[in-house]
Symmetry: C2
Subunit: 250 residues, 2 copies
């Protein structure tokens, strides 16, 4: 008898943004395989489980995907409840499909528990909706990073056509990212907000027009960062400008 592998979304960071189902599975789990970015207070819910860190972080591959697949298959042959815990939602930039396909090929039952992806966490803190009547009816989530960590050129077109765009893993290559966006036709004045460590105590947000994105991204610290872009952020940008003016004339 083999167990079930649950691919579980750990959410954006704050422990209470986990779903009730995810919390219950963590408490039941026999073994938990987790990414580097999952905070300790979420992991600590899995009291009776063995914890195995397999996560990658910003291109620093601490375990190869094939090795992770093998570990999950072996764990399901030994345990009833195996949890594979991934930051955000497993099905968005989480390489979930490779794990699902490997597990199903091995005849192992797989379940997926969705999680709050970072974009929604950042958005709730900013109090600025991703969509807005008359301003935005489409939101694209994308990443300029390819498998090998490089920035290719063809990713920017959806960011130029959607009303609101959220760029994952874009902060470290902000110069190349800005160039690709401008080339795809995004106006240099398009309002952006860079958010670091969304929903965590160290959360920070910097509004900037697109032409200032690289300079702004240089201020990102150690936390995971997102770039939000679109006319819905015009008010955020205007408020930041007013604050700056007040500081300059104080």
């Amino acid at each position: 008898m083999t167990g079930t592998v649950h691919l579980v979304g750990a959410g954006p960071g704050a422990a209470d943004l986990l779903t009730l189902r995810a919390a219950r599975l963590l408490r039941m789990a026999d073994i938990v395989f987790h990414d580097a970015l999952v905070p300790d207070d979420i992991l600590s819910l899995a009291e009776r489980a063995r914890h195995v860190r397999v996560g990658k972080r910003c291109g620093a591959h601490s375990a190869r995907q094939e090795d992770i697949n093998g570990l999950l298959i072996a764990a399901a042959q030994e345990h009833e409840t195996v949890v594979r815990l991934k930051g955000g939602d497993p099905m968005l930039f989480g390489r979930a499909q490779e794990e699902i396909d490997a597990l199903r090929s091995a005849g192992i039952d797989v379940q997926v528990v969705p999680g709050i992806t970072a974009a929604f966490g950042a958005t709730s803190s900013l109090l600025q909706s991703l969509t807005e009547r008359g301003l935005s009816r489409s939101v694209v989530f994308l990443t300029p990073r390819t498998g090998r960590g490089a920035v290719a050129c063809d990713w920017a077109r959806p960011a130029a056509t959607a009303d609101t765009a959220v760029l994952y893993m874009a902060g470290r290559d902000a110069t190349a990212v800005t160039a690709a966006l401008l080339l795809a036709g995004v106006p240099a004045s398009r309002p952006c907000v860079v958010v670091e460590s969304a929903t965590l105590p160290g959360e920070r947000a910097w509004p900037t027009p697109l032409h200032g994105l690289a300079r702004t991204c240089a201020r990102i610290g150690d936390g995971p960062a997102l770039v939000l872009m679109g006319d819905v952020y015009a008010d955020c940008l205007a408020a930041a400008d007013r604050t700056l003016e007040r500081q300059q004339f104080a």
Copy 2:
């Protein structure tokens, strides 16, 4: 002293896909204003609260947005913990900004609690990731519906440029939606999956190529429906075709 209004995401439907934070706020709430689509087992968490249904459903406007704003302001002047419960995530197709702006203008504290939007619920049930190495690095969420319930023509371009697209509130206008997508350059063979009542007991999923979308959407029942589209769904479509073949030759 005025209270705080919490715009809370109720998630895609299943009660245990609520976040821990949302569940805690519902238990604390003095009054809950909710959409028509929020299931009873989620509402029942708000045991001590007065429940007020203000929701709109499929264009049947049961309360005007300005009236809802007024109700929320009045409630915050009377109660400490006011919850505005919205299906999915409040910041995606939830008209959250109108409520946030009205509340802040009235000097009332607003907090937003993110929720799992239907796309992630449907995706986890299908066991098919929205992104996949070499196949999809961008996902757009959009709606063809305008404020007045009509289908305009300019919404389809992001669906044609992003690798994966999720269409909200598109099932009832599937013929016009298909025409707009084809006109925007989406191939007629692009794999789609129509999902009704994601994460709920009555959940159903029908894979179809884009050219069969209108015929497929005619099968949607009373539940909320989503259209997922992109090459990542090629395997879902192939599996459905194999099942159909087996049925025809049985």
